[in-house]
Point group: C2
Chain length 329, copies 2
DNA sequence: TTGAAAGCGCTAACAT
DNA sequence: ATGTTAGCGCTTTCAA
């Protein structure tokens, strides 16, 4: 007849059962300091038998280390948090944090008030911050104190390592594909103007079109499908002879296809359409969407891991983007 | 010239500035116990001036309360965590937890080993659990100790309040729509067999078709698009005269449309297709997908809130699902 | 209404 | 290699 443990085992219990001091048990269990093999075994056995799990709160308190990871997304309105992209980042971080007992919270950083970041940093519960949709002013608002405990998905700074998809290479692959398949009047629907990382695609677009002697046709987008639908119409109105539209997000590209369809334009017959991200449904649209891959989960995992490990990360880590040719272009 | 706070303000600091004891400051700031209005003001002012933010670790330690919310998803493989649906649940929980300083971690609960839940519950860092894709055996594995700190998205039990979309009503709305538009040989692609909540749609399907004197045509699905594509072919092979396919997830429905297209079957001309969930891209497919809404974020928010508040929640809370008629059916 | 004091579970000097 | 000790910042009896 086993007594149901009314109380979870503490380090004290483990130490007593193992016949050592609390300090020794701590050293063994936290992998810090040294201990003789025999002691090590006894402590491990005791911990195992008691089902000992360290109390993260106690540990964080004494270490002064915080108990959660904050994911902070910059945007004009709180609606930026509704993006499936953000969901993926949060879920990836929540998976990385789990084995460490570190939870994730999600926050909106108003674009006009980057100092909101301060509140997050001043919170002793926060042990690290993953910045999303980072802008220059947000980067400027990162206090020194946060160094080594912050990473950015997007652009970085000397104090903030960056993790991002290789926008330029991805965009270039798409544009070359468009060109190789005979398109010569290629319009682009961009991402948010204020996002530097989104600007990289635009820069590449300008370079490639200029080098090939093609016209530059830019329309502002915001990564949403709704905007893509409108943008398609704008493109058609401004440049009726456009034969390809490259949107910097799949959602926007699908919106573009919908907008084109509204106008009775055939895809890819009349106009080719390409996206960026390779979301799961890109393969299922009609026509199936040609796009470039965007390993969001890998990127977010790397960013979260960098924050957790506090290991000096490279200033910038780019993840490759590969062309995924399908039917729409 | 302000001295940069080398150290974040503690309750002790607030108490000193306010000229009261730490205990009093605690009472005022934690909204517990009583204090004179004057004292209350002084403490609040001091906290404000110092930018005091309570240390969640210290609070959790003394209260024995845990510092994070665990989202546990049941599934045969860890791949269940890759679902965008899970991402949304996690992000919603991470938003709910943020103001409370409670982070979220994401865990896989192997379907064959529901006792894995124990590890989560024994972890003193976990203050609550949100179950996703809950099965009967997982529910059985919920220890008494967790009562009031657990909620389920899916089915529930006397000890675990459930939060879910009203699958039955949603499915019925879709099926009635199909019937009203002249479809008489309606096949259904189901969700996982082992998921009771997914079974509700099947039950409704059986009832509705039986009542209308229609044939029952069931094919097993798993919520993925890939499976939908295969399932479409199976339906066509087994029952060539099928005139409608109802899939219990939009991803599957889009897969069905792709599979149908592979076979040269027109949608909705030859076969109508309907989904369930109303994911953002349902509106953008070709043809636009007829479906029923599934307020995942609202559901997850409610579940997470119930766990946080520890308020006695109703045994079951169903969220309405509305028909979203578009072009595919 | 307020203060003094104890202690939550753990780690990290500092001794030995 | 191991034990002793002093807290980390907070809440909460218990008295006053």
């Amino acid at each position: 007849m086993t007594t149901p443990a009314a109380r979870a085992a503490t380090l004290e219990d483990v130490a007593r059962v193992a016949g050592v001091s609390r300090a020794t048990a701590s050293r063994v269990l936290a992998q810090t300091g040294s201990a003789s093999p025999a002691t090590r075994d006894r402590v491990a056995a005791a911990a195992d038998r008691l089902g000992y799990l360290p109390n993260p709160a106690a540990r964080a308190l004494v270490r002064g280390s915080g108990v959660r990871l904050a994911v902070a997304v910059t945007g004009s309105t709180e609606a930026v948090l509704d993006d499936p992209y953000v969901d993926r980042v949060v879920a990836a971080a929540a998976r990385v944090g789990a084995p460490h007992g570190l939870g994730v919270t999600l926050h909106w950083l108003p674009r006009r008030a980057p100092q909101t970041l301060r509140r997050l940093v001043d919170d002793r519960g926060v042990c690290g911050v993953v910045l999303v949709n980072t802008t220059g002013s947000v980067l400027d608002a990162v206090p020194r104190r946060l160094r080594g405990r912050v990473a950015s998905i997007g652009i970085g700074s000397p104090a903030v390592p960056a993790f991002d998809v290789d926008n330029s290479a991805g965009a270039e692959a798409v544009l070359r594909h468009l060109h190789a398949t005979g398109r010569r009047r290629i319009a682009m629907v961009t991402g948010h103007r204020w996002l530097v990382c989104a600007g990289r695609s635009v820069h590449t677009y300008r370079q490639v079109t200029r080098a090939a002697g093609l016209p530059v046709r830019l329309v502002a987008g915001d990564f949403t499908a709704a905007r893509g639908r409108e943008a398609a119409v704008e493109v058609l109105d401004r440049w009726p002879d456009t034969d390809a539209i490259f949107a910097t997000s799949d959602a926007t590209a699908l919106g573009v296809i919908a907008g084109l369809r509204d106008r009775g334009v055939r895809v890819p017959g009349d106009v080719a359409v390409a996206g960026f991200d390779d979301i799961p449904l890109a393969a299922l649209s009609t026509p199936a969407l040609t796009t470039a891959s965007h390993p969001v989960t890998r990127i977010a995992t790397a960013a979260a891991t960098a924050v957790l490990d506090r290991r000096p990360a490279p200033a910038v880590t780019f993840f490759p983007s590969a062309l995924v040719p399908r039917d729409s272009a």
